[in-house]
Symmetry: C2
DNA sequence: TATTGTTATACTCTATAACTATA
DNA sequence: TATAGTTATAGAGTATAACAATA
């Protein structure tokens, strides 16, 4: 049995005449130990039975899967999950500095520069000089930023529905309740 | 107010006489918009109110937190989360090739070489030439590998308890049940 | 011609270092 | 002396390229 494998491909220079990039690659897999015969390499859902009970592994894998789904859905807007986070905070109306935004998101100031550069280039965010302290640049959503945030919010919600489709209603509610609890110090 | 920030530090060459590495760094934070005054940069639990309802963000953050906790706990054994995954699969008794292991874990063959090199250097895993196909190297847990796996399993379980301490008994059960469900195609 | 495992290398991500301008 | 923001760069992680041995 065979199955199609879609790689996250980037362009590479090659010394040979062969094509440098394979968008799709067929992977054939032998049947062993009762495992499914069709295997997609780097499959986002495949989990070995021995790892099903390893909560850390499943958490990482499912979080990565969700992140990939959101990133793919945001691709047409040239945005990623983390940009949505920044827009979410700014959409509340708070006018905060880059440093402060970094603290809220756990991102260092150098990385924050690049993220804001991107959002500014897309005309979603403005840097505004602080009148009191000229070192500080305050971040503000533009009108376009607000409307783009509304779109990303819709996209994010749709992805969530897809991601959670294996759960019933009460399981979804519990998950939404307890995941934030895992991020609280008590 | 001030608080201690412990960075994930790695050694760097520096051109100045100043110390290249700060294991601890004090970060002082101004009070704004009712947020807590003490802020640990790259805080593993701090979540902005606007992001509490953003499931994807909270999933990624909590998964990263758990991974960091496991990695730190495995540090004395010179192992990481992913090594525990490999040991878990081998501990079931299956004798599989490096390629196969990569497919199970979603890891490419070049990266797998490095992971197995490390486990072999620690004498936890052996590469055994396949009698039928001399290209293939089968992976097998050593006796030391088995005893180390038992230790890592204990460590991992302890970290899980710590990670889940904000949840009550039934919430823990539900989480353990539904996280693997998020990784199933239906 | 295809596959396993290897080494070499390129790309991304992210954190530190060093710097400028302000305070 | 310390901080906000910037640029440059180092390190880790990870994926592709190329290759040798084997099928």
């Amino acid at each position: 049995m065979q199955t199609i494998c879609r790689y996250n491909v980037y362009m590479r220079k090659t010394k040979t005449a062969k094509p440098a990039v394979n968008i799709e690659k067929v992977v054939s897999v032998t049947d062993e130990a009762g495992h499914p015969q069709a295997v997609r390499f780097n499959d986002s859902t495949r989990v070995h039975p021995a790892l099903k009970e390893y909560l850390c592994y499943c958490m990482i894998k499912s979080a990565n899967r969700m992140k990939t789904m959101v990133d793919e859905a945001l691709l047409p807007l040239q945005l990623q999950t983390i940009h949505f986070g920044i827009l979410s905070i700014l959409n509340r109306g708070d006018i905060i500095s880059q440093i402060r935004m970094g603290q809220e998101l756990g991102i260092d100031k150098a990385s924050m520069v690049k993220l804001i550069n991107k959002l500014e280039a897309l005309k979603l965010v403005e840097r505004i000089a602080d009148a009191k302290d000229r070192r500080i640049k305050l971040l503000k959503l533009t009108a376009q930023g607000k409307s783009t945030f509304a779109k990303t919010k819709k996209i994010s919600a749709d992805v969530e529905v897809e991601f959670l489709k294996n759960l019933n209603c009460s399981e979804r509610e519990v998950l939404r309740k307890i995941i934030p609890l895992l991020l609280e110090k008590k």
